[in-house]
């Protein structure tokens, strides 16, 4: 048989050809760009990452000073991006679950309210909401000098929320070890008790014991003086409050904007998932004498979860990418830090390559995690 008529061989050739074309295009673009940059005497390369950053970042989750390197500054931006997206995804999912179930409620008032919530949030661009939340915060709350003293040590102003902070004075390591061990054994106990309940059909005190295992050892440690805690109380400085935990309005506005938009998407996904479960499931569960809320929790939601996971992945990817709107309201995320770096070094192509690489990498990580979870909960067909 002629090799040219072999389907597999031809497919192989087409694929090699396609890959070659893409590689050639990429190489041409790269070569032309570096050639043009060199002709215009524009500096290239990633050497600038090691230079001193020299600028202040107001919100840092990891230690950072202006004398640190540009690479470190970009890392601070990445951590800020991850922090706000992660919190928005978790809180938004919980809120969305609630709203989605409320949309299915038989109480017309609750169902309509949930519908209005979803429609209002889904049909206006997120950027406008960010401006709205931010303007509301800085216009509604008083300047920091007239900060509202909500509770002792808690101050609310248009510079954000300042809270007393707890910190571990001594014994941090042993506390962390005990908490980790506690979590591990609690999970183990809970699993064993669930297994036993399923096999024997009798309820047991597994959850209670797990809670005890989680809470008692750290409390004992604290009672015996193994660890001690200190309070960092905010103090009025000349201009603003110093010390304590500072939640900035930029962060709050961004978190709110993102989590509300996540909640609206999740609500619709949850509703779709629930409605996809056939009425027979409801009727069968009701015939067993289960209350409506238990039908939802024990029968419908676990089945709906399989349908919910894939669109949920999209929502999480969207919230992660949308966090780059932070730049509009002054939250120092990856894009904002990169912009400053770009301005100082003038190396736009490299800096954009870095932040595109980071977004791509983290998005793929989110997809992989969600796909793994999806494979776990998916219906196992044999």
């Amino acid at each position: 048989m002629n090799i040219l008529n072999d389907m597999r061989f031809r497919a192989f050739c087409y694929q090699i050809g396609a890959i070659g074309l893409v590689a050639f295009a990429a190489w041409t673009m790269f070569a032309t760009a570096s050639d043009n940059l060199a002709k215009q005497n524009i500096a290239t390369g990633f050497g600038f990452l090691a230079r001193q950053a020299g600028f202040v970042i107001s919100e840092t989750a990891i230690a950072y000073q202006p004398t640190d390197s540009i690479a470190r500054a970009i890392l601070v931006g990445i951590v800020n991006t991850v922090k706000v997206s992660l919190l928005a995804a978790i809180l938004g999912t919980l809120l969305g679950l609630f709203v989605g179930v409320a949309r299915m409620s038989r109480n017309p008032l609750l169902a309509r309210l949930a519908l209005a919530y979803v429609e209002v949030l889904r049909n206006v661009p997120l950027l406008l909401y960010l401006f709205l939340w931010y303007s509301l915060i800085i216009l509604v709350f008083p300047p920091v000098k007239q900060a509202l003293n909500v509770l002792p040590g808690v101050f609310l102003s248009n510079s954000g929320l300042v809270l007393p902070a707890v910190f571990v004075e001594s014994g941090a390591t042993i506390l962390a070890l005990i908490v980790c061990a506690g979590i591990a054994s609690a999970i183990l106990i809970w699993r064993i008790s669930r297994q036993r309940r399923i096999t024997t059909g009798q309820s047991n005190h597994g959850a209670f014991i797990a809670c005890l295992v989680l809470l008692v050892p750290p409390l004992l440690l604290w009672g015996l003086g193994g660890v001690s805690f200190g309070w960092d109380i905010p103090q009025a400085g000349r201009f603003r409050l110093t010390g304590g935990l500072h939640v900035r309005p930029e962060f709050v506005a961004l978190l709110f904007g993102l989590l509300l938009s996540v909640s609206a998407s999740v609500a619709e996904i949850v509703r779709a998932g629930i409605q996809a479960i056939g009425p027979g499931q409801w009727e069968a569960a009701a015939a067993l004498g289960l209350h409506r809320s238990r039908v939802m929790r024990l029968v419908v939601l676990p089945q709906a979860l399989r349908l919910i996971i894939p669109p949920l992945t999209n929502t999480y990817l969207t919230v992660f990418k949308n966090s780059s709107l932070a730049i509009a309201i002054g939250y120092p995320d990856l894009v904002m830090v990169s912009n400053t770096v770009m301005n100082q070094t003038g190396q736009a192509i490299e800096t954009i390559a870095i932040f595109m690489g980071v977004y791509l990498g983290l998005s793929i990580a989110i997809s992989l995690t969600m796909n793994w979870y999806n494979a776990r909960v998916a219906l196992k067909e044999r």
Binding site: M29, T32, A33, D35, N36, L37, K39, Q40, N41, I42, A43, G54, F55, V56, I57, S58, P66, F131, S135, I138, L139, P142, P143, V144, N158, S159, G237, R238, F239, R240, T242, P249, E250, L325, I327, A328, I329, G330, P332, V335, M336, N339, T340, M342, N343, Q344, T345, G346, A348, I349, I352
Partner: protein, 338 residues
């Protein structure tokens, strides 16, 4: 952000897709029939459209002087508002012929961004503005305060350096858009706002009650603003530089927009050369010999441009200060025309 990003993409695409033409910018501009000049996004006093849609301002008039030198008509020009992040890319990629956008001349910009700066047209410095009610009289008292700025540029770095020298800390709040930046400051999110002093005057001018705000006395950096062109086009750079110097020399010699026609009869050999009555200075740059006359006829001299756009009678109310002529105690000094 959106425009910024699009412009970066456009610039990157231009870099990627085409081999940048190294032909003379003068020929390109002449063939096109107009000069394309990058200016600020609406900044009163430097570049902002008036109620008839005509671009007004100090930077805009610098552009017009070059257009007048090339075409004999200061209005053969297209203004492109450039974002602070993408101004250099716009110039590098050939989207604009020159950049006249409150841009500070610095070593690293000139050395690594593929551009050449012209003469300093405005000696500025970074300052801080606060509300009078704050009761602060020096920037050194601002330790622990929150300060609003625009991203990047040299502003954030100068502030960091300043507070490092005085051993204090501060909270930096950075906004992408000048409007958000101003709004946050006026709403009290920050105690102070920091930018070039000329820009602060412009921000103060749009406050509900400008008298409630003061610019603190410290100048924490040198910001000599200069127009720029792409590197490796020395003829085009000469045209830009000498157009600016002609504005300065005209003020020194007392040539104004109003009296330029009479000055054509002047017996002063310097004036005769500048206005193209004798010698052929214009031809040496590839321009019309009346180029100097055309510039002054179109925009007036340096002093007139200053007073019209940012001077004491305008809302910005800036005094000449270091921008006075060298023989009046300032730094404005044009080399001789001969």
């Amino acid at each position: 952000m959106k425009h910024g990003f699009l412009a970066i993409c456009a610039a990157a695409t231009a870099l990627l897709a085409t081999s940048v033409a190294q032909a003379g910018t003068l020929d390109t501009v002449k063939a096109r029939g107009k000069l394309v000049c990058g200016v600020s996004l609406a900044t009163p006093g430097f570049a902002a459209p008036d109620d008839k849609g005509r671009m007004q301002g100090f930077d805009a008039d610098v552009c017009r002087s070059v257009a007048a030198a090339v075409f004999g008509d200061g209005d053969k020009i297209e203004f492109v508002p450039t974002n602070i992040n993408t101004r250099f890319q716009a110039l590098q990629s050939g989207e604009i012929d020159m950049l006249s956008r409150q841009t500070t001349q610095t070593f690293s910009r000139e050395a690594s961004l593929g551009l050449d700066f012209g003469p300093n047209v405005f000696y500025d410095g970074q300052g801080l503005m606060v509300a009078k009610s704050l009761g602060v009289s020096s920037a050194k008292e601002l330790t622990d305060a929150a300060i609003c700025t625009l991203p990047g540029t040299t502003t954030a770095q100068n502030l960091s350096d300043f507070f490092r020298t005085i051993g204090g800390k501060f909270e930096l709040v950075v906004f992408e858009s000048p409007d958000e930046n101003r709004a946050a400051f006026f709403a009290g999110r920050c105690e102070a706002i920091s930018s070039d002093r000329s820009d602060l005057a412009s921000i103060r001018a749009v406050a509900n009650n400008p008298d409630d705000y003061i610019v603190l006395p410290e100048t924490i950096s040198k910001e000599p603003l200069a127009p720029a062109v792409r590197q490796n086009d020395s003829n085009w750079r000469d045209i830009m530089s000498w157009s600016v110097w002609l504005l300065m020399a005209a003020e020194e010699k007392g040539i104004t927009q109003a009296n330029v026609d009479e000055m054509l009869k002047s017996q002063d050999p310097d004036i005769q050369r500048m206005l193209g009555v004798t010698d052929e200075l214009g031809a040496m740059l590839g321009l019309d010999n009346k180029w100097g006359y055309n510039i002054i006829k179109a925009v007036g001299n340096y002093g007139e441009i200053f007073e019209r756009n940012v001077g004491e009678k305008t809302r910005l109310g800036l005094t000449r200060g270091p921008n006075a002529q060298w023989n009046a105690g300032g730094l404005v000094y044009a080399p001789p025309f001969r």
